[in-house]
Amino acid sequence: MSETRNSILTKLRKTRDAHPLTPPASDFAPIEAKQWAEEERLPRIRRLMEAVHTEFLDATEADWPAVLREFLAHEGVGSLIYAPATDTGKRLVEGWDASSTALIPYDRPLEDLKPRLFDTIEAGLTTTRGAIAETGSLILWPTAEEPRTLSLVPHIHIALLRADALYDTFLQAMRDQGWAQAMPTNVLLVSGPSKTADIEQTLAYGVHGPKRLVVLVVHP
């Protein structure tokens, strides 16, 4: 198909050169101007995300596993899949024994987990790389240790958000974290549980992705 490729590119180049186009400069100021005071960011994120049915839990570095354990027990969640090789995963398992929720490590390829992941495991835990105040969005940065299906397949997605990792805009997060230099296989912004309005514009939650999104805010 390289013949097709070359003929398309040749045609584009020829016709563009015949009628060059001078685009106006891209002024990012209207996006850069969107800023919120530090103390406003989390409440704003919370408000925007709660408006689309996201749930929030507050915790500290010391007690987040306990807060999570309690929440899962209270909600009657029988199983939680997590990333065992991450620091978060290691913290999670410490002293979990007493819990009524079974911990399942995501320690093998998806192919070997598929039926359980789709049919029996109720919740998945991931970290985040921060959140965005403008739109109320979590930044998910899946890795080899923390696979992307953790936040996709189980009915409940629990996302750990550190309250000191908040950004004003998508643009700011991408610049500050240097995304363009090293994009991983998959990056996600997640702004709520899965939803649809395809049936007569009636909002319904949990169509294909998680039915519930729970943000576990870890305050410093």
Binding site: T4, S7, I8, L9, K11, L12, T15, R16, A18, H19, L21, P23, P24, S26, D27, F28, P30, I31, V52, L110, E111, K114, F118, E134, T135, A144, P147, R148, L152, V153, F170, L171, M174, R175, A180, M183, P184, T185, N186, V187, L188, L189, V190, S191, G192, S194, K195, T196, A197, D198, I199, E200, Q201, T202, A204, G206, V207, H208, G209, P210
Partner: protein, 474 residues
């Protein structure tokens, strides 16, 4: 696609005669317009981000061949296999080839307008491959055996009751419940089994980043993520105009697209894919293919005026605001892209012989132009296509297809009358004296008087009145 020219007038008559459909669209579009307006309540912000997004699209078009080459390079470096297709047939053949090589039997699809353009589903089914649309709206439309009626909300023409009936007929064990939550959950159950079993996932692309070799997809349901994450092979389809230069160019587009489309600040998921599963990673497809489709786009690009058509980011806001679309709905256009963007894009892709009527299905009210997030001069392009239909410059496929000697003579006569003060005076005098005697059965008057009284010629023209009242002439 069939060879017959679609008859927009006939199809729109049928749509207008369906009060259910009229009501569904009126309600839906009214809601979408007010939700969008609420998102852009800060006029300064709207103008600023809109100018930025337009500049991003224009910059991409200004470097289109170079950016496509860079995209190919960065994608390839990331492990994505890039394919080029000049026509929809070529694109279908490439897709089929990948499917055969992977011995695929079941395909799940996320929303992709390009695959609608290709009629890919029909091709796959003909080749014995089961293909399932997974966006809820697309799934509904596929079950119903029809086409999407809106590019963002494919099943907007149906109400809950109609969908409940459809599910009852088509899905095993479905209860007859007119409840969106129940119906959504039903679809969830059916489709989760399919996501798990699928051999290949397919998707469109909202923006492809040349700088990093990244495919961006936005969606609310999670089906796009399912299709691009769970099956072992992912095939993404994009029109060649979908490339942007830098990763930083994505936020302005993402900022405007969902707000314009459905009035939400952002979609639930923004999914950025930069390659297949890497060694050591536990999930993600093992192969990612990107099929870049031309299908007439390079010809659109060739003309400096028509080129602006390719700025489009497919938000569908032009449909929501189009008074014609709102009345007749998407199906009347019988095209993958309905509404204003369809009226300029489809005739350029499919030619004016088949689609010459589309640019005339417009009152040129400019409501679409007012809200287009990337400032496409839709109505100017519409006007240009009307010219190409009767006086071809060679820029558009089947130019001149609507040329008519009679029509040309009428306009030439009209011009002669209006270009000469004497002729104009004689003609208007005649109309003032005799015009009202014209029978309503005359062509044009007949259509006009269908719901209106006959326009009444005044007995004296303004020219006469001004002269009589001594209004100076110079």
């Amino acid at each position: 696609m069939d060879g017959n020219a679609p008859d927009f007038a006939a199809a729109s008559r049928a749509a207008l005669a369906d009060p259910q459909l009229r009501g569904n669209f009126r309600r839906a579009m009214d809601g979408l317009m007010s939700k969008r307006a609420a998102q852009f309540s800060d006029a300064g912000e709207w103008h600023g981000v809109r100018a930025l997004a337009a500049s991003v699209r224009l910059r991409a078009l200004s470097k289109l061949p170079e950016l496509l080459e860079t995209l190919e390079e960065t994608c390839t470096r990331n492990g994505i296999t890039v394919h080029w297709a000049a026509t929809t047939d070529e694109a279908n053949a490439i897709a089929l080839d990948i499917l055969h090589k992977t011995n695929a039997k079941l395909v799940v699809k996320g929303k992709s307008m390009v695959t609608e353009e290709m009629h890919l589903n029909a091709v796959l089914e003909k080749n014995g491959i089961e293909v399932l649309e997974s966006d809820l709206g697309e799934y509904i439309v596929q079950l119903d055996g029809t086409m999407p009626s809106h590019i963002i909300m494919p099943a907007i023409h149906l109400n809950t009751k109609q969908i409940a009936h459809l599910f009852k007929r088509k899905i095993k064990d479905a209860e007859s419940r007119e409840d969106a939550a129940y119906l959504t959950d039903l679809a969830r159950r059916v489709l989760r089994a399919k996501f798990q079993a699928a051999d290949v996932g397919m998707s469109g692309v909202n923006a492809a980043v040349a700088e990093t070799g990244t495919l961006c997809l936005i969606e609310n349901e999670g089906n796009g993520r399912m299709c691009t994450t769970v099956p072992p092979v992912h095939i993404a389809f994009m029109g060649l105009e979908k490339v942007v230069e830098k990763l930083e160019d994505v936020p302005p587009v993402i900022s405007l697209l969902p707000r314009s489309a459905t009035g939400q600040p952002i979609t639930t998921y923004v999914n950025m894919i930069s390659g297949p599963r890497k060694p050591g990673e536990k999930d993600g497809p093992r192969e990612v293919h990107l099929i870049i489709l031309d299908n007439g786009r390079s010809s659109i690009y060739a003309d400096p005026e028509l080129r602006d058509t390719l700025r489009c980011i497919r938000c569908g806001a032009c449909m929501n605001h189009c008074p014609v679309y709102t009345k007749v709905g998407g199906h009347a256009y019988e095209a993958p892209y309905p509404g204003p963007i369809g009226k300029i894009l489809v005739p350029q892709i499919e030619g004016l012989e088949k689609r010459g009527a589309m640019p005339h299905a417009c009152t040129m009210c400019n409501a679409c132009v007012e809200i287009c997030p990337v400032k496409i001069p839709i109505v100017e392009i519409m006007g240009r296509l009307r010219v190409e239909a009767v006086k071809p410059s060679g820029a558009v496929k089947d130019g001149g297809a609507k040329a008519s000697r009679t029509e040309a003579m009428v306009w030439s006569g009209w011009a002669a009358m209006n270009a000469s003060p004497t002729a104009y005076r004689v003609a208007t005098l005649a109309m003032s004296k005799l015009g009202n005697a014209a029978p309503s059965s005359l062509p044009m008057l007949k259509e006009w008087t269908n719901v209106r009284t006959k326009p009444r010629f005044a007995s004296r023209t303004l020219h006469d009145l001004a002269r009589a009242k001594g209004v100076p002439d110079v």
